[in-house]
């Protein structure tokens, strides 16, 4: 599936999640080569791409990068590093069981 990351969206991500500024490449890598893709539980029109990074310089170790993508427009909504998930991210749609 094609995913669009606009300059405007990236500016929004970098402005509100300043730790992401250096890691646009990791966001693209997560979209291209995710560990898993989930469909949102509360908002099924949202896809969540997840990839674990063993070490993220200046941020931390073993962090999941989450990229939220609209199912309809395929635009990236936001992206950030997650240290821990209390519950499942949603319904796993890739890789399929």
């Amino acid at each position: 599936m094609e995913v669009v990351l606009t300059d405007e969206c990236w500016k929004h991500v970098a402005a509100h999640h300043p730790e992401m500024r250096e890691f646009k490449g990791l966001v693209l890598d997560t979209i291209q080569r995710p560990d898993a893709i989930y469909r949102g539980k509360r908002d099924p029109t949202r896809r969540i791409y997840k990839k674990n990074y063993f070490e993220v310089a200046g941020v931390g170790n073993s962090l999941d990068l989450l990229v939220f993508v609209g199912d309809a427009d395929r635009y990236v909504a936001t992206a950030y590093f997650c240290a821990y998930s209390v519950r499942m991210l949603g319904v796993l749609i890739w890789p399929s069981n």
């Binding site: 949202r46 969540i48 962090l63 609209g70 635009y75 936001t78 950030y80 997650c82 240290a83 519950r87």
Partner: protein, 217 residues
């Protein structure tokens, strides 16, 4: 080993940004700063600042879509709710006793500014009596070790007590947060009356933004 932590959450500055196109709400307690997320639900992240460790803010993905189910004026009321958040400070104490393996969490809302002057000065502070009620009576439920503390006679929820904390604590906290979220979004899910009571208290008294800040504690 026993300990007691007291943390005050005072939101003197609350910045927020709502992107209507992507339907993402970012709330920041102070200027945006590097942080990592604690993902409470697939739509709700609490941002923890790295240096110094602090509650930095929260991100809600799908804000309008999700919150319009509860309140169709959610987006319109956003500025007023954010303004209200600034006038409140919350004091939370967490204590653990290893003899009984019990964790106790209590919270108290403190008014600030003119609200403190008008209400706080007139009331004398004293310890209120309280009772504890089990959150679940099901023997295999993760919530069975969680007890809700209620003030008397008002029965408002003022704290939580978790028994067998080292064995059941993390599962109990996850189940507790899950029960709140389920109560909001899946009203048909079977939960004890107290889960509804806590959720109502959090939504009505503390507001949904502050509910998330409690979850991060």
């Amino acid at each position: 080993m026993a300990f007691e932590l007291v943390q005050k959450f005072k939101f003197e500055r609350v910045d927020y940004s709502y992107n209507r196109e992507s339907d993402v709400l970012d709330i920041s307690f102070g200027p945006p700063a590097p942080a990592v997320a604690l993902q409470v639900e697939d739509w709700l992240a609490i941002r923890i600042q790295l240096d110094p460790p602090n509650l930095q803010g929260m991100t809600i993905v799908g804000f309008r879509k999700i919150f319009e189910k509860i309140n169709r004026y959610a987006e319109k009321e956003l500025p007023r709710r954010m303004k209200r958040l600034v006038s409140v400070s919350l004091e939370m104490s967490i204590s653990y006793d290893d003899q009984t393996d019990t964790l106790i969490m209590r919270w108290e809302e403190k008014l600030s500014g003119w609200r403190w002057l008008s209400k706080g000065l007139l009331k004398r502070k004293r310890q209120k009596p309280s009772i504890f009620e089990a959150l679940s009576r099901e023997p295999f439920d993760s919530l069975r070790t969680v007890y809700v503390e209620k003030a008397l006679p008002s029965k408002e929820v003022v704290g939580l007590k978790i028994f067998e904390f080292t064995k059941c604590g993390p599962a109990a906290i996850e189940a507790f947060l899950g029960a709140i979220v389920d109560t909001i979004f899946d009203p048909n899910t079977k939960h004890d009356e107290n889960a509804h009571l806590i959720t109502n208290a959090l939504i009505q008294r503390l507001d949904w933004t502050r509910f998330a800040s409690l979850g991060a504690s």
